[in-house]
Amino acid sequence: MHKVIVFSPNRYSLYSTTVSAMLIRKGVSIQSIYVRNLINLKRFVGEYRRDGSRLIKKIWNKLILKEASNQNFDNIRIFRKENEIFITDLFEFNAKFGIPVIPCNDLNEPTVVDGLKNLHPDLVVFTGGGLIRQDVLDHSGHGVMNCHMGILPNYRGMDVVEWPILERHPEMIGITVHFMKKGVDTGDILNILNIPPMKDETIPALRNRIEPIMCQTIVDTCMDYLEGKVPKIPQKLSEGKQYFKMHTLLQENAKVILSRGSHAK
């Protein structure tokens, strides 16, 4: 039986609970789930430095509104319903399956490294939670697997749904399953899926459509990799760029470009 550890950004993450449930159904043994504490000043300061005022909006949408937000584009909830996934809190995995769910302030802290050293997982499935340091990567079996919402190596970093639209490369929207490395989104590639925008689709709707595809793809790729069916392909970093949070003025432009249907060259 394949042994996997799951990393999660917060106990209520729909992505984490969905991926964990799907892995269990595939017969994977989840040895433990490390989940970052929600209330953590260091985390808040770090994320505020990165996201600025957008963090407040993110917290409001993800933690306060939960069910109420994004009702119009609720693909992941439909996906969960179709797949009969009803767990909404990672701690339920402990109650139902006896999987240790271990809270931590940071996924790089020594307790996590010690846990990895003791459990010797085949790999770690990353469902969010910040940058991962080398000592964690070193003790994660085959590595830490992540599904990036962007096509690698071309679009590393953040807002990589918006950036290809702005740069008029809609064919470069999609997801990539890869192993994590010290640099941002630079590790070996396992699977790439192109998901170009559909006619009249908005950016939030597109992102929403991508979310359940990410759940399915990371689980399928994880299984295929563990069964030796997927090779690791090193990235040619010179073929891509690292992108950062897009300024609101550029976001507005990306929206207009997409709505005009002028995103194609």
Partner: protein, 200 residues
């Protein structure tokens, strides 16, 4: 295009300047990478890039801490000359990454590096101008992205055109020239983008 009247007025001020002043401020007034054409302003006389005596910057490892105003100016001259060595690209990428990651603490970092916020502001405006030049020279929107974020920082960019672009106190004018340059190039870049003429 809420700033177009201000830009037009200031552009007229520059056009009336002595060519020697424009020449002496070449990095800020000598080459707008064609943004004046995008905004429908009449072009200014063209001058050759100045010679920057301190060229040691390329021998240093790309890092914020290794950068000074002369170093930035030399990099800007290299970008303008289309001298795209790997070193220049590495400098630009490293600085952009640094600025993105440290955006909210740049004021403190500048104060620590220079001891005075005025020198820090001049340095940061030069850096913003460097990022803007990279955007125009390489048609790379990531550089415009960081410029827009930097221009949102009130301690750094606060240009309202109240100070006339005429010779006088040197230090203040340098900042005004830089801010004016950023204003016109930002407006032109956004106009170009809205019109759909940027393809990365």
């Amino acid at each position: 295009m809420k700033n177009i009247n201000l830009i037009t007025k200031l552009w007229q001020d520059i056009a009336l300047m002595d060519t020697e002043i424009i020449k002496a401020n070449w990095l800020n007034l000598g080459n707008f990478y064609g943004s004046e054409t995008i905004l429908g302003l009449s072009p200014l006389p063209k001058f050759l890039a100045p010679d920057i005596p301190d060229k040691t910057i390329l021998t240093k490892k790309p890092a914020f801490k290794n950068l000074d105003i002369r170093g930035i100016q030399y990099l800007r001259v290299l970008v303008d000359s289309n001298y795209q060595t790997q070193e220049v690209i590495e400098w630009a990428e490293t600085i952009m990454r640094f600025l993105e990651i440290n955006l909210t603490v740049l004021k403190v970092k500048c104060k620590n590096k220079f001891g005075s916020i005025h020198t820090g502001k001049t340095f940061m405006l030069e850096l913003t101008a460097f990022m803007m030049d990279c955007h125009y020279a390489w048609n790379d929107l990531r550089f415009l992205n960081i410029v827009l974020k930097l221009m949102d920082l009130h301690w750094l960019y606060s240009f309202d055109g109240a100070v006339k672009l005429k010779p006088g106190q040197k230090d203040t004018l340098h900042i005004d020239y830089l801010q004016f340059r950023l204003l016109i190039m930002r407006e032109a870049a956004l106009k170009k983008l809205t019109n759909g003429s940027i393809n990365a």
